[in-house]
């Protein structure tokens, strides 16, 4: 019998991307003046990349909790959309489902969406655990290195996240080539950035959803008319 690898091949580059982004996050934490172990606490407990970068600034400014709650809500509202297709129904037990939703990051969603194939409970959980370990260990090591060495000169590591999404966009396009949707998404992102820079992600997702629903409506009308 042919043995399948326990996780898809894409997990390695994404895990390394998360690890190097974690390094960058650890550096940001100690450069902001926080103790190194906050990097571990932030990444292990909150576990939402872009929000954690924002949280560092909020912590430094001693921001009121209500504003922290509002920021979290706005930055992470996009996760609502992931419930549409993330294969949570394949995860077996309730505690595993609980962890799986807890660890449902952009990267975890992206990897399952990029390769909808055969996702078993074990496979999904393994991928999510690998990603979280990569992220938390990267951040901890980055913070420790940042405490020990003057590494201000190493900048630009955060491009790993951009590269990751670009690669996943290319893969998604290969799986389902649709230049119109790709352009619409880019337009939604730019318009949202211009009109509401603070809530860019939410409005871009809302706009893109409206485009999709509109196009489905047109296709159906065409089919019936």
């Amino acid at each position: 019998m042919e043995r399948r690898s326990p996780v898809p091949a894409i997990v390695v580059p994404v895990g390394l991307g998360l690890f190097s982004l974690g390094l960058a996050f650890g550096l940001v934490v100690v450069h902001a003046g926080l103790a190194w172990w906050w990097a571990t606490v932030f990444t292990a407990v909150v576990y939402a990349g872009s929000l954690e970068f924002l949280l560092v600034g909020l912590a430094v400014a001693a921001t009121p909790l209500l504003q922290v709650a509002a920021t979290t809500l706005i930055v992470n509202l996009r996760h609502v959309f992931y419930a549409l297709s993330f294969p949570l129904d394949r995860v077996d037990r309730w505690w595993a489902k609980a962890y799986s939703t807890y660890a449902l990051t952009d990267e975890a969603y992206a990897v399952t969406a990029a390769d909808p194939g055969e996702w078993t409970s074990r496979r999904i959980l393994l991928v999510q655990i690998i990603f979280q370990v990569a992220w938390v260990s990267g951040a901890t090591i980055g913070a420790l290195v940042g405490t020990a060495l003057p590494v201000e000169r190493v900048q630009g590591l955060d491009f790993a996240l951009t590269a990751l999404f670009v690669v996943l966009a290319i893969d998604a396009y290969r799986a389902r080539p649709d230049p119109v949707f790709a352009c619409c998404a880019a337009v939604c992102a730019v318009v949202a950035w211009l009109l509401a820079p603070g809530q860019m992600l939410v409005w871009a997702f809302v706009g893109y959803t409206v485009v999709l629903v509109g196009r489905l409506g047109l296709a159906r009308r065409g089919a019936h008319g």
Binding site: P13, V14, L16, S20, L34, W38, F42, V46, L55, L58, A59, A62, T63, L65, A69, T72, L73, L77, R78, V80, Y82, A83, L84, S85, A98, T101, Y102, L104, D106, A110, A113, Q155, G156, L157, T162, A163, L164, F165, V166, V167, L168, A169, I170, D171, A172, R176, D178, F181, A185, A186, C188, A189, W193, M200, L201, F205, Y208, L212, V213, L216
Partner: protein, 107 residues
């Protein structure tokens, strides 16, 4: 700087809200998975979401000066070219990031 107990509270609040945003929609959307609209959305969502997330990560680049913008542009070209050529995500991500780090740190 906030005192540690305040930061702990911040972490707790963000973690709780983040988890709720990730978990609760499943309860609402699960019955709708069979609907044509939801299936259509889940089919076409990934491409758009990746494009939007990619642009989101570079949103501050134009404001951070021409050098950073050119570095990011060069890194982007390298990433896309590597991915189209080798189809190896690790090579593309590491290659693009390395170009960006070198350009931003050394110039």
């Amino acid at each position: 700087m906030a005192d540690p107990s305040h930061i702990v509270a911040m972490v707790a609040v963000s973690a709780a809200i983040t988890w709720a945003l990730r978990a609760l929609p499943f309860a609402v959307l699960a019955p709708m998975r069979r609907s044509v609209v939801v299936r259509y959305l889940s089919l076409h969502m990934p491409l758009g979401i990746m494009v939007i997330l990619a642009l989101y990560t570079v949103r501050d680049v134009p404001a951070s000066g021409p050098l950073d913008a050119w570095a990011a542009m060069a890194a982007l070209v390298v990433t896309v070219a590597l991915q189209l050529w080798r189809r190896n995500a690790l090579v593309s991500i590491v290659g693009g990031t390395l170009v960006n780090v070198l350009l931003v740190s050394l110039l």
